[in-house]
C-alpha cells in the first residue's frame, strides 16, 4: 500500500457520487476534541515507561567521565564489585566482546555504547554498575576508578572548525542510511562533520548592487530539553534469541533498526515498545539509553532498567549552541538583494542528528525572504561538550535569532517600520525559496497582519521613563518540514464494529493520539472519542520514521487517512453485497453504513455479514511518503525540498529595569500557520507551550559549561519557566492556510511557536533601551553589561 499523496488527493477532491452532497464530513476534524487520555492523566493511571519494573530486574547506574578529552588508561572496578549486592560492572570492553563494532548514531556511527579507548566529553558513560537495589548500584558507581591520559580539548565551535584544532574523532564514520554523506566516509583530521551549502544567483554582484551592507555575528548558548519524565529504558530477553526494549522514546522504529544493526540481528527479533512520554522535545530521539540497556541485558541475561536523573539529562543531549555570521545587502528602499549566511553548530562530542540540523536549518537560514542572491554555508562541528541533537525546531530558532535581529537592525538603519520592512521582502505564494523550490500554500502577509492587529502596531506605544523602559518587537520565521520520511498506519475494525488505530507516532503531550483518532473518525463516520489508539510497539504497530519535526499530523495523519479509507472501502464493499446495492450509494455515518434510501447496517452487522458471526477483522492499511528531490550537493537547489513550509511570527512587549538589566516580558503573541487545524484548541496550546519554552531559552535558560564541565546540571541552578515567570498576556494565534496535500488541509505546528520568540524579545529590548545584545540568553547580567558599554561606563570587569 505505498499510497502517494497524489492518489489520495484525487480521492478527496472527487466526490464519491455524481449527486451533489456536502463534502464528506463527520464533524470530527476541525473540532476541539478533548484529549482521549484526559482521565488517565488526572487520576494517576496514565502509562509511562517510567512506571515499569520487571520481575528479577537489575538497576543500572552509570559511571561517567570526569574529563572532557582523554585516553582511558585503566578502569578499576574492584571497589565497586566489593559492594554487597552488586551484580556486575560492565565496561566498554565487555560490550565490545558482545558487539564488535559498538558505535551508533542516526547520521554517523560515532558514539560508543560505553566509552572505548578514549573519552570525548565530561559526563560520557564509561561503565555501568548493575544491582537489584538502585541505591547499591549508585553507591558502587561512585567507586569505579578510571585513569586517564588527558588530551587537549576544544569547546568553541568556530575554533574547533579550524585546521589546527585538536581532533576529536580519528575518522568520520557516516551512517549508510544517508547516501549523501557517503563522501565523508573515512575523512580524517577534521572536526567538521558536515558542511551544507546553498547557492542562488550571484552573491558578489548582489553585494555590488547594494546600497548598504550589514554584517553581524550572533550567538546562542546551549540549553537542555529537561522533559520532566526521566530518560528511562528497560530491556528483557524475549525467548532465547529475542529482546524486548521498553523505552521512553520518540523513535521506536529507529531504536529497533539501530539495535538490530548493532547486534547483527534481523529486526524481527527486537521488539521496541513505548507508552505516553512525559515530554520529549526532541531529546528522546534516536538512541539514548537503548543500546546500553540492551547490551547489559544480553550480557547478564536478566532484565535491566536504567533511568537518568535530571542531572544526567544535561550530560546526555542538549540543544545546539551556534554562531551565525550574517552579511546582508539592501537597496535604499529596503529590498534585500544579497545575503550570505555562515553557521557553525556546536554539536558536542557525538554527531547524533547534528549534521541533519546543520543541513536542514542551514537551508532556511536566509529567512522567509525573497532574495535573488544567496550563499549559505552551514557546518556541523564536533567539540568536547555533551552531544547536541534536535530540540523542538531542529536549529531553526538559532538562525531566526540571527536573521530577525538583523532585520530589525536594517529596518531601523533605513528608518523603515520593522513590519513594513518585512512586507517588502517576504516570500509570497509561487516565488522561489533560496533552494529553488516554489512556495506553495503559504501566506506570510496574513501572519504579519495578525501580528500587527494583536500588537496594535499602529497605535502609539509608551516607552516608559526613568529606570523602567518599555519596548516592543516582532519577528517572523520559516522552517522546511523534514523530508523524506515514511509513515505507515493500520486501522482495525473489530468484530463488534469498534475501531483501533495502530501507529507508531508517540504521544508525548502534543495530542497526536487525539488528532489521529479525529482523522480516522472523520473518514469512518464515527466519533473520535470511540476510537482506541494503540501505542507504539514494533511487534504490533507499523513503521514510522519518528515523532519529530512537526511531521506527525501531516505524515502519519495522511497514513491514518489512507488506512481509514481502505477500511471504509472494505466495509462498503461488504455492505454493498449484503444490501445488494451499488457501492456508490453507500456512505459511513454514525457508526454505520447508510444507503441513500435510508437503509442502515451497523459496522457490527457488516462484520457479521462478512464473518458469519461477531468475529474477524477488517484491517485498513495506509502508508505515506511525500515526494522529495535531494538537493544538489554544491548548490542546495531542489524542486521539492520539503512537503510543507512552516511559518510563524511572534510579537513581544517588555519592560527593562535599567538598574539591573532585568527583562520582564509583559505580552507575548505567537502566531503560527497550522494549515486547517485538526484540533484548534490543542494547536493553540502547542503555540503557547512552545512559546513559553523558547521564552525560557531567551530570558534565563543556559547551560554553563566551564572547561567542558556542565556546572549547573540541576533545577537548583538551571531554571525553567514557572508560573510566576510567565507574561500575563500570553497567546497563541492560529493562521489557517490549508495545505493542498495535508490531511484535511492540516500542517504540523509543534515547533512553530519556538521560532520567533527570541528575536521578538531582543528587538523589543532594543526598542526599549537602544542596546543590541547579540548573544542569547538575555540574562540581566548580559543586558546590564551591554547597556553600560553603550553608556560608555562599562562594568569594572569588562
Amino acid at each position: 500500500m505505498a499510497a502517494r499523496y497524489s492518489e489520495s488527493a484525487a480521492k478527496v477532491v472527487e466526490p464519491p457520487s455524481k449527486i451533489k452532497r456536502k463534502a464528506p464530513g463527520s464533524g470530527q476534524v476541525k473540532r476541539s476534541v478533548r484529549r482521549l487520555e484526559s482521565k488517565a492523566k488526572v487520576d494517576g493511571s496514565a502509562e509511562y515507561i517510567y512506571n515499569l519494573s520487571l520481575p528479577g530486574m537489575l538497576y543500572g547506574k552509570i559511571a561517567r567521565s570526569s574529563i572532557p578529552h582523554g585516553k582511558i588508561l585503566s578502569i578499576d572496578a574492584t571497589a565497586a564489585l566489593a559492594v554487597e549486592g552488586v551484580h556486575a560492572v560492565i565496561t566498554g570492553e565487555d560490550i565490545r566482546r558482545l558487539i564488535p563494532d559498538p558505535y551508533y548514531g542516526p547520521a554517523f556511527h560515532d558514539q560508543p555504547i560505553l566509552a572505548l579507548d578514549k573519552v570525548r566529553y565530561a559526563g560520557e558513560p564509561v561503565a555501568v554498575v548493575l544491582a537489584a537495589d538502585p541505591h547499591v548500584a549508585e553507591e558502587a558507581a561512585d567507586l569505579i576508578a578510571v585513569e586517564y591520559d588527558p588530551l587537549e580539548p576544544v569547546f568553541d565551535e568556530v575554533a574547533a572548525a579550524k585546521a589546527d584544532a585538536p581532533i576529536i574523532h580519528d575518522t568520520l564514520k557516516p551512517a549508510a542510511t544517508f547516501p549523501d554523506l557517503k563522501y565523508l566516509r573515512g575523512r580524517s583530521g577534521t572536526n567538521v562533520a558536515l558542511s551544507a551549502r546553498v547557492r542562488r544567483g550571484d552573491l558578489e554582484k548582489g553585494f555590488e548592487g547594494s546600497d548598504h551592507i550589514f554584517e553581524h555575528t550572533f550567538r546562542n548558548g546551549k540549553v537542555s530539553h529537561a522533559p520532566l519524565e526521566p530518560f528511562v529504558t528497560l530491556a528483557e530477553m524475549n525467548g532465547p534469541d529475542g529482546l524486548t526494549i521498553h523505552t521512553a522514546s520518540q523513535s521506536p522504529s529507529f531504536v529497533r533498526s539501530e539495535v538490530s544493526r548493532l547486534l547483527g540481528w534481523p529486526e524481527n527479533r527486537v521488539r521496541v515498545r513505548t507508552a505516553f512520554l512525559g515530554g520529549g522535545f526532541g531529546g528522546k530521539l534516536y538512541i539514548k539509553l537503548e543500546a546500553l540497556v540492551a547490551a547489559c541485558t544480553l550480557l547478564v541475561r536478566k532484565p535491566v532498567r536504567i533511568a537518568l536523573t535530571m542531572e544526567e539529562q544535561f550530560y546526555t543531549i542538549t540543544k545546539h549552541g551556534a554562531t551565525v555570521r550574517l552579511k546582508t545587502g539592501v537597496k535604499k528602499d529596503g529590498r534585500i538583494v544579497a545575503r550570505e549566511v555562515e553557521t557553525w553548530w556546536n554539536g558536542g562530542a557525538y554527531a547524533d542528528i547534528g549534521p541533519r540540523v546543520a543541513q536542514k536549518s542551514g537551508l532556511t537560514s536566509a529567512g522567509p525572504y525573497d532574495i535573488e542572491n544567496i550563499a549559505i554555508d552551514s557546518h556541523a562541528i564536533y567539540t568536547n561538550e555533551p552531544p547536541a541533537g534536535a530540540l523542538r525546531g531542529f536549529g531553526v530558532s538559532q538562525v531566526v535569532w540571527a536573521y530577525e535581529s538583523q532585520a530589525d537592525i536594517i529596518a531601523r538603519a533605513l528608518k523603515i517600520d520593522p513590519l513594513e520592512f518585512r512586507r517588502r521582502n517576504i516570500l509570497r505564494e509561487g516565488r522561489p525559496h533560496a533552494t529553488g523550490m516554489l512556495m506553495t500554500d503559504v501566506d506570510i502577509d496574513a501572519i504579519l497582519d495578525r501580528l500587527a492587529q494583536r500588537m496594535e502596531w499602529d497605535r502609539p506605544f509608551d516607552h516608559g521613563s526613568e529606570t523602567i523602559r518599555r519596548g516592543r518587537g516582532i519577528a517572523i520565521g520559516i522552517k522546511a518540514c523534514v523530508a523524506p520520511t515514511t509513515s505507515v498506519a493500520m486501522v482495525n475494525i473489530y468484530g463488534d464494529g469498534s475501531c483501533g488505530i495502530c501507529c507508531s507516532t508517540v504521544d508525548m503531550g502534543q495530542g497526536s493520539d487525539t488528532a489521529m483518532a479525529q482523522i480516522a473518525a472523520e473518514i469512518l463516520g464515527i466519533s473520535a472519542e470511540a476510537i482506541r489508539v494503540i501505542h507504539p510497539d514494533t511487534d504490533v504497530t507499523p513503521y514510522d520514521m519518528a515523532t519529530l519535526g512537526s511531521r506527525s499530523t501531516y505524515h502519519m495523519g495522511n497514513a491514518v487517512r489512507h488506512a481509514a479509507e481502505d477500511a471504509r472501502a472494505q466495509l462498503l464493499r461488504i455492505a454493498a453485497t449484503a444490501l445488494q446495492t451499488d457501492i456508490d450509494e453507500l456512505e459511513c455515518q454514525d457508526g454505520a453504513v447508510m444507503t441513500r434510501s435510508g437503509g442502515r447496517m451497523t459496522f457490527r452487522e457488516v462484520m457479521v455479514a462478512r464473518f458469519a458471526m461477531q468475529a474477524g477483522n477488517i484491517i485498513g492499511v495506509g502508508s505515506f511518503i511525500p515526494p522529495y528531490e535531494k538537493p544538489d550537493h554544491d548548490t542546495g537547489q531542489s524542486r521539492q525540498i520539503t512537503p510543507f513550509w512552516m511559518l510563524g511570527g511572534a510579537g513581544a512587549e517588555i519592560e527593562v529595569d535599567t538598574e539591573t538589566g532585568r527583562i520582564r516580558v509583559t505580552k507575548l503573541v505567537n502566531v503560527g500557520d497550522a494549515g486547517s487545524a485538526i484540533n484548534p484548541d490543542i494547536v493553540e496550546r502547542q503555540l503557547i507551550g512552545a512559546g513559553t519554552m523558547q521564552f525560557g531559552f531567551t530570558i534565563f535558560e543556559e547551560m554553563i559549561i566551564n572547561e567542558g564541565q556542565v556546572v549547573n546540571a540541576s533545577f537548583a541552578d538551571y531554571k525553567i519557566p514557572g508560573m510566576l515567570d510567565l507574561p500575563h498576556d500570553l497567546t497563541g494565534e492560529l493562521v489557517e492556510v490549508p495545505h493542498r496535500h495535508g490531511p484535511f488541509g492540516a500542517k504540523g505546528i509543534g515547533e512553530t511557536g519556538m521560532f520567533c520568540v527570541s528575536p521578538a524579545i531582543g528587538n523589543a529590548l532594543y526598542d526599549a533601551i537602544e542596546v543590541r545584545v547579540m548573544e542569547m540568553p538575555l540574562t540581566p547580567e548580559r543586558v546590564l553589561r551591554a547597556l553600560r558599554q553603550a553608556q560608555d561606563r562599562p562594568l569594572t570587569n569588562d
Binding site: 478533548r34 484529549r35 487520555e37 484526559s38 482521565k39 488517565a40 492523566k41 488526572v42 487520576d43 494517576g44 493511571s45 496514565a46 509511562y48 517510567y50 512506571n51 519494573s53 559492594v83 554487597e84 549486592g85 537495589d133 541505591h135 547499591v136 553507591e139 529537561a226 522533559p227 520532566l228 519524565e229 526521566p230 505516553f276 512520554l277 512525559g278 515530554g279 522535545f281 536523573t309 535530571m310 542531572e311 508525548m508 503531550g509 502534543q510 495530542g511 484548541d681 490543542i682 496550546r685 503557547i688 507551550g689 512559546g691 513559553t692 519554552m693 540541576s714 533545577f715 537548583a716 525553567i720 519557566p721 514557572g722 508560573m723 510566576l724 510567565l726 500570553l730
Partner: protein, 166 residues
C-alpha cells in the same frame, strides 16, 4: 549500603490502612511505587524543586522524592489516586480535564494535589494567590494558563464541592 536499617511503618494510604517494610533511607515515592503500585507521585528533578512527586501527608503537600518513607509512620497519606470517588473524578480533576490543563501529564498529579491543599486552606484564592501557591510546581509543556483557569473554575464551585466531598 554497608549498613541498612529497616523498619515497619503503619499509616493510612488514601483512606485505607497500610503497612510497609522499608529501609530508613527510602523515600516516600520509592515506597509508594514499589510496595503499593502507585505511580501518580513521580520523581523528576530529585531535589524537591519540580513538584512531580507531590503527596499529601496529613493534608500537607510534601516532596515525595525527598520525604523519607519512615516519616509517614502513623500519618495519613493521600496521593492523586485517592482523590476520585470510584469512577467519579474529584471536582479538581474534572476541572483540569474541562480546561485541558495538561499536555504530557507527567506533572499533573502534583499540580492537582497542590491545588487540593490550596483550596482546603483558602477556598477562594485570587488569581495571584493561585500563581504563587502553584509556583513550586513546574510544567515543561507549559500548560500554565490552562492550569490557572482550571483552579479558578473549581474554586468558584467551592461550596458545591464541600457538599460532594465533605
Amino acid at each position: 549500603m554497608t549498613e541498612t536499617h529497616r523498619r515497619t511503618i503503619r499509616f493510612k494510604l488514601n483512606g485505607r490502612p497500610a503497612i510497609a517494610e522499608i529501609a530508613t533511607h527510602e523515600t516516600l515515592v520509592e515506597v509508594l511505587q514499589r510496595d503499593f503500585n502507585l505511580f501518580g507521585a513521580r520523581e523528576s528533578c530529585g531535589q524537591g524543586l519540580c513538584g512531580c512527586c507531590t503527596a499529601l501527608v496529613n493534608g500537607i503537600a510534601v516532596s515525595g522524592c525527598l520525604y523519607l518513607a519512615a516519616f509517614v509512620d502513623g500519618a495519613e497519606v493521600m496521593t492523586v489516586e485517592g482523590l476520585a470517588s470510584g469512577n467519579d473524578l474529584h471536582p479538581i480533576q474534572q476541572s483540569f480535564v474541562a480546561n485541558c490543563a495538561f499536555q504530557c501529564g507527567f506533572c499533573t498529579p502534583g499540580f492537582i494535589l497542590m491545588t487540593k491543599e490550596l483550596l482546603d486552606r483558602h477556598p477562594h484564592p485570587t488569581t495571584d494567590e493561585i500563581r504563587h501557591y502553584l509556583s513550586g510546581n513546574l510544567c515543561r509543556c507549559a500548560a500554565y494558563p490552562d492550569i490557572v483557569r482550571a483552579v479558578e473554575a473549581v474554586s468558584g464551585q467551592e461550596s458545591d464541592r464541600s457538599i460532594d466531598h465533605p
